[in-house]
Symmetry: C2
Subunit: 376 residues, 2 copies
């Protein structure tokens, strides 16, 4: 049996569920830390596990270039290589090809591009993308698509979306069904409601184990993104997981869960950790700021991660200012922990039918600027 998702409870449009994969169960809504090149940056696999994370994402573009998909397969697959025992979702490579690669040429069959690492020439087609993800050992394979740039005219968005739908059919045909594995289609259509609907219809006709909503969080702003979720989510099959790609901030996650999204990935918690930003129950802290230099309190009194349990904000400030690797290590660990706790709270609230109250309580916490309390 392919990967399955079981609906456990609803609260309004929000859903709690269980994703069952070849590498175990994952409770949804779920946030997947991004393990770009076979590592969640600045964390060991053990430390990622310790945050409660059960599922991570790998990037096809990065891994196909280095160490190479066939090499990963010879090393026993991505799970074994990075010592990740839970499920892995891989993206299709399309998004990074468009945003990172050098000279690239899109045609009806696929994309030819130059590596950003050494300028070497490569090609991805829907069939090759699915093959690469198979070689990596992905539990969830994503269809190869074009992430429509924003803004796009209606004509551009329609043409791009229809290309992605043709590629979705080819991805489906290329995907080898295996127990506990699945292929997700990706809804495109930019900010045009009827194109989103056309895309959902096209994907539903093909049939996938899950449905991603792509082409959002690309510059359209949160209100427009949420409007697209309001339009798109209700059209998606009720019995399949929904994955909002590349999103987002804690507030984005809350608002998207309310609208029926089950899965998320984003570099925000890891990238922010490397630049000294911490997401906490009392809002965002910038640890570079000199106001933390003698602050003996922990980052987040409500967090049990090593950064919060063992250290002061002053120490984290010192590490970031000194460009010590331990600064990014601890802040990434904290941010991923925060994201995992946030998702666990949202899931528990859905089960209890009190999601909106819980979301309001979380947001009220963010508004308590405890750095001001300290200064007073």
């Amino acid at each position: 049996m392919t990967l399955t998702w079981t609906h456990v409870a609803s609260d309004g449009a929000a859903r709690a569920g269980t994703l069952l994969t070849a590498h175990g169960e994952v409770q949804t809504p779920v946030f997947m830390p991004v393990g770009t090149a076979g590592t969640v940056k600045a964390m060991t696999a053990d430390s990622v596990r310790s945050t409660g994370a059960r599922m991570v994402l790998g990037n096809t573009y990065h891994l196909m270039l280095r160490p190479g998909a066939e090499r990963v397969a010879r090393l026993g697959g991505l799970h074994r290589m990075m010592d990740w025992r839970g499920p892995i979702l891989t993206d299709s490579g399309g998004f990074q090809v468009m945003s990172l690669a050098g000279l690239r040429k899109l045609d009806a069959d696929g994309v030819t591009f130059q590596s950003h690492i050494d300028g070497s020439k490569h090609r991805i087609t829907p069939e090759r993308s699915v093959e690469i993800q198979h070689l990596l050992g992905a539990d969830v394979t994503m269809c190869f698509d074009e992430c429509t740039p924003f803004p796009a005219t209606y004509g551009q968005a329609a043409e791009s979306m229809r290309l992605s739908m043709r590629w979705a059919a080819r991805s489906r045909a290329a995907f080898a069904p295996r127990a506990g594995h699945g292929l997700f289609g990706i809804v495109q259509g930019s900010t045009y409601a009827d194109l989103r609907a056309e895309s959902v219809a096209a994907l539903s006709a093909i049939g996938f184990e899950g449905y991603a909503i792509g082409g959002l969080a690309v510059g359209e702003g949160q209100p427009e993104m949420l409007r697209m979720l309001d339009i798109t989510a209700p059209l998606l099959p009720q019995d399949r997981p929904r994955y909002l790609m590349g999103v987002g901030t804690p507030h984005d996650l809350i608002e998207s869960v309310k609208r029926g999204v089950d899965m998320f990935d984003c570099v925000i918690p890891t990238r922010s950790g490397r630049t000294g930003r911490a997401y906490t129950s009392r809002g965002v802290l910038n640890l570079r700021n000199a106001k933390h230099a003698e602050e003996t309190r922990p980052l987040d009194p409500d967090c049990g991660c090593p950064a919060c349990r063992n250290h002061s904000r002053a120490y984290l400030h010192h590490l970031i200012k000194s460009e010590e690797m331990l600064g990014p290590m601890l802040l990434t660990w904290h941010n991923i922990t925060y994201y995992q706790h946030l998702m666990a709270r949202l899931r528990a609230a859905i089960l209890d039918g009190r999601l909106h109250a819980e979301a309001a309580a979380i947001e009220a916490g963010w508004a308590e600027d405890d750095t001001k309390a300290q200064a007073a």
Copy 2:
């Protein structure tokens, strides 16, 4: 009672002992990982502990400049700030002032210098160095001295050593005795046997809780360093710990333990880890080397650290080539683990009276180049 060292066993000139400090017991011979700026680079305090390390070193020069000694004291001391529960030895700042600071001016009273971080002007005297180390909360405080540059003429070496001896007396006078804390004198004299003897006599007359051998591993080469140990160690008080500063490679450690050294610190295992070099029971591996790209074996079959337990050499090669932070993190963890295991093996061998056989067995392991076995 001040910090004490108890002699447990000898094997030839080599000694096994127990150092008792305000932050617990340490078995000697001991290797202290270097925690330059309040962090053993690329490791959490928990991961340092997991290697078996019980005692670490902090650098007065780095910490006095950032975050500042008084600030560390206000934050509860270095132990609390970096979450290190075992003993900490701090150096005096002298070595880094000479090698890292900008414009510096040595006079009979101390050194004035410019920070390498922001060019700000600072001054260290023996009294201020001891005060800083007190503010940091060091279990072992080092006398402020001049590490005589190599090579030095006899006259230069004599003058420099005698300045350090005057400063040693001033450091002793400035040191506030506290239970479990101690002050170590530092033997200088470059490569001149009679100056080394004069220095030992001067320090012994003052009286210290331990004796460091300084001014070695500064370019004189291993044979000359070992010759100086052969000359110096027998002159030192038998009932006090001996610390060889800034040394060294695994082979340096073995040869120095044989000659009666009890304590070591060095950046080699941490710095090497960050540049892709691993010390293993089968010799040194450079993980940047392409020959590891598909090597599924662990770094060191005899090691239980996370790098060896969970990953292949191929993965470590990938991380280093990709400049992923996890590469330095895992290799540092491994190297510190290797150094700790090495010291534990040497201590056990001393207790059993078979140090020379054990050293020979360890060195025979290094000669087994298992990367060749793989290629064959």
